[in-house]
């Protein structure tokens, strides 16, 4: 029944770090380091992770803003990298992007009509009924007044600007929308409106979304499937329900427990401020230039030091099981569903309910 509209296979995006007079490449920022994903038609795949996890880079590769170092991107089964320039342009129509910041992603010197109509101009398309009418329809589709085509972005609020960005992305009737943090710049009360609009549009137009966000609540609401990224890799993936309710990767669990819960009673029972689940990760994510050996998460993992297998190599160093520091865990099924996969050597230790710190 798999009907994949977008597939990513072993995608890698490295940025060279250049030093010295000859600008020789001395290292690489491993922004995306071997990611495979499948987006099914008409569904939403949520992509979560901290800043620097590579989720935005992945999004930019998918819409063609960045070219991958290696790996494949397949749109409707066709490999984008094997196509000619013209073929890529054609294919790019099918995958459009909604950007995070509605203030900088709209050209302040273009009217709304020009912004939303620009994709037609770029691709040399004359929609039936003319561009003007098409722009009006698009604005109406996203809940804006079609008579406002001659206004400029500064005359709109943040939520309205994000609607303009969505209208522009929809102009070429794409199959896939890649949404990079589309609501994180918006006020809470407006956020919900844009989320509801995206859900309505999905139903109406049969769109598929890759929804990149750091807000785990928003992702749970909108996504059917979720992928969790850490240092350029996917560490857990699966349908939304098992990933949230029975997370099998210690990083996912830590992320979920760090989300502030809008209920003061949770604090009262947890006893400590701002850490409802009790799992507070230490430090910041390591540099993607020099990711840790073995499991990339082992330097911050809260589970590893608690395991009986844990031992420290040097005095004073953090004890972790040897396997975590030496072998990169593969994404394998751990939950009840075969589609729920996690990359942790000790995922089974997390299967028991109530494993919290």
């Amino acid at each position: 029944m798999s009907d994949a509209v977008l597939q990513v296979r072993e995608l890698v995006k490295h940025y060279p770090v250049r030093r010295g007079l000859l600008r020789r490449s001395v290292a690489a920022v491993k922004a995306v380091d071997g990611v495979s994903l499948t987006l099914e038609r008409g569904r939403t795949l949520g992509l979560v992770g901290e800043s620097g996890s590579g989720k935005s880079t992945l999004a930019r590769v998918l819409v063609g803003i960045e070219t991958p170092t290696s790996g494949q991107v397949l749109v409707d089964g066709e490999d984008v990298s094997t196509l000619s320039r013209a073929g890529r342009k054609q294919l790019r129509r099918d995958v459009q992007m909604v950007f995070q910041d509605p203030y900088t992603s709209l050209n302040p010197r273009m009217s709304v009509g020009e912004i939303v109509g620009e994709p037609f101009a770029i691709h040399g398309i004359d929609p039936a009924g003319g561009r003007r009418a098409a722009v009006g329809e698009l604005l109406e589709l996203v809940g804006l007044d079609p008579d406002h085509t001659s206004r400029y972005p500064h005359q709109f609020s943040g939520g309205q600007r994000q609607r303009i960005g969505i209208a522009r992305a929809l102009a070429l009737r794409p199959k896939v929308l890649v949404c990079d943090e589309p609501v994180s710049a918006l006020d809470v009360s407006v956020q919900g409106q844009v989320i509801n609009l995206l859900e309505d549009l999905q139903e109406e137009l049969g769109l598929s979304y890759l929804f990149v966000a750091h807000d785990l609540g928003v992702v749970r609401h909108i996504a059917h499937d979720v992928a969790v990224m850490y240092l350029g890799r996917i560490v857990e993936q699966g349908p939304e329900q098992p990933v949230y309710d029975t997370a099998r990767h210690p990083y996912t669990q830590a992320l979920l427990s760090a989300v502030p819960v809008p209920d003061p009673a949770v604090r009262a029972t947890a006893g400590a401020a701002a850490q409802p689940g009790g799992l507070v990760l230490e430090g910041d994510p390591p540099s993607p230039v020099d990711p840790p050996s073995g499991c990339p998460f082992h330097t911050r993992c809260w589970l590893a030091p608690t395991l009986p297998e844990a031992r420290s190599d040097a005095p004073g160093s953090r004890p972790v099981p040897t396997v975590c520091a030496t072998e990169t865990p593969a994404l394998v099924p751990h939950g009840d569903a075969a589609t729920h996969v996690a990359a942790c050597h000790f995922a089974r230790e997390l299967a028991a309910p109530g494993v919290e710190s």
Binding site: S189, G192, L255, A265, V280
Partner: protein
């Protein structure tokens, strides 16, 4: 002039505050604490091309030692502007046209800019949202941490360095000794925000105002920074004002909450009661509109409850209750009359004509109330608003 305000009796300040601040009406059991900072009836106006615009319109709140007050609101609600006014950091186009901010017997708002400097940092300090923009990129972190100490307390370079290391240790920046010599760009976002907090603490202020201190951070780092703030605040019995839009953060760290909308406080209460039973329709709607990680909306893909429309521009506020065009229970009265802050229950304040009804989670009884009909007649079997209880959304 400052002498005059210093002389202003505490009783007077107290008397003016009680009408508005929730602390004053806290239940009998708790001792009434003397507020560290008490803002009363603050009005801030901006000169704009559209004329004079009121960004803050009659805001009152109080901050007590060892307690955290969260000021919650959307963009344009006036939450940041009100803090800048207290700090004496308003842009030149803005003016405080009314109100006072009492700090230990002094009205900060009546001070001339030069006098205000003696309080800023020393007694009230501020942490800004964007640490990268707030720190100077061409000076080391150590230099910036102690700039004020050297200028005001005359610390020597060696002493300043020692103090800077102490401050970084205090905010748990690892390897403080080496890091004082580094520049802001060498710090991660979370570490930079710790530096901001350390520099705000340098002069040992009684009140710390933190404006969206964790908004730019990842959730995992946010949890660390919030934890640190709570710890430091408890240790020093500092009064903390936390300005945020995130109701999850508020629930995690605040003792008292002030919800702002269109320049004024619409609801003020201790944190527990406000989440359990909001007394203003705006608070209630905000709480309902947060998508939860607990999966309340799983399966059915239920639409997220939203507040229609958007926050009004300060230049064009609606008549009557500023929230009425977006309110789900607005009545005719709301279109014409501005609701005052009233107390529908002990320790609760709400600027809603129907605060008692909202608090009890029943539909407003506008007609009855105005006709002044007897109680018995006004309780027809209206369906209970069960689905509107924020807790009811998470079965």
């Amino acid at each position: 002039m400052s002498a005059a305000s210093r002389m202003r009796s505490a009783a007077e300040g107290e008397g003016r505050g009680t009408r508005h601040s929730p602390g004053a009406e806290r239940s009998e059991g708790e001792p009434k604490a003397q507020p560290l900072l008490e803002v009363t009836d603050l009005v801030v106006e901006f000169r704009t091309s559209d004329g004079v615009v009121r960004a803050v319109d009659g805001l009152s709140y109080r901050v007590e030692a060892g307690r955290t007050l969260a000021i919650v609101g959307e963009s344009g609600s006036g939450k940041s502007v009100s803090s800048l006014a207290v700090m004496g950091l308003l842009p030149p186009t803005a003016r405080v046209t009314r109100g006072s901010a009492q700090l230990a017997g002094t009205d900060l708002l009546a001070l001339r800019p030069r006098q205000h400097r003696a309080y800023r940092g020393e007694r009230v300090a501020m942490v800004f949202q964007d640490a990268l923009a707030a720190l100077n990129p061409v000076h080391t972190v150590g230099y910036q941490l102690t700039e004020a100490l050297r200028a005001r307390r005359g610390l020597s370079r060696a002493d300043a360095r020692t103090r800077a290391i102490e401050l970084l240790d205090l905010v748990k920046v690892p390897n403080a000794k080496a890091r004082v010599k580094e520049y802001p760009h060498q710090f991660s976002g979370g570490m930079r925000q710790r530096v901001m907090i350390a520099s705000a603490l340098a002069m040992d202020p009684e009140v710390l105002i933190a404006d969206e201190p964790t908004t730019a951070l990842d959730v995992t780092v946010q949890a660390q920074v919030l934890h640190l703030l709570a710890e430091i605040q408890a240790e020093r019995r500092m009064g903390l004002v936390l300005i945020t839009h995130d109701l999850g953060v508020v629930a995690g760290v605040a003792d008292d909450v002030t919800v702002m909308y269109a320049g004024s406080a619409v609801e003020q209460a201790p944190v527990g009661p406000i989440y359990a039973a909001p007394a203003h329709p705006y608070t209630r709607a905000l709480l309902r509109s947060i998508p939860s990680t607990a999966g309340a909306d799983r399966g059915t893909r239920r639409r997220l409850p939203v507040i229609p429309g958007r926050p009004p521009s300060p230049a064009a506020r609606p008549s009557g209750c500023p929230f009425h065009p977006r309110c789900d229970v607005a009545q005719d009265l709301c279109r014409t009359a501005v609701p005052p802050l009233t107390s529908p229950a002990p320790a609760r304040l709400s600027a809603c004509h129907f605060a008692a009804d909202v608090l009890a989670n029943r539909p407003p009884r506008a007609a009855e109330r105005r006709d002044d009909r007897p109680q018995a007649a006004e309780t027809p079997t209206t369906p209970p608003f069960d689905e509107q209880v924020p807790g009811g959304d998470h079965e």
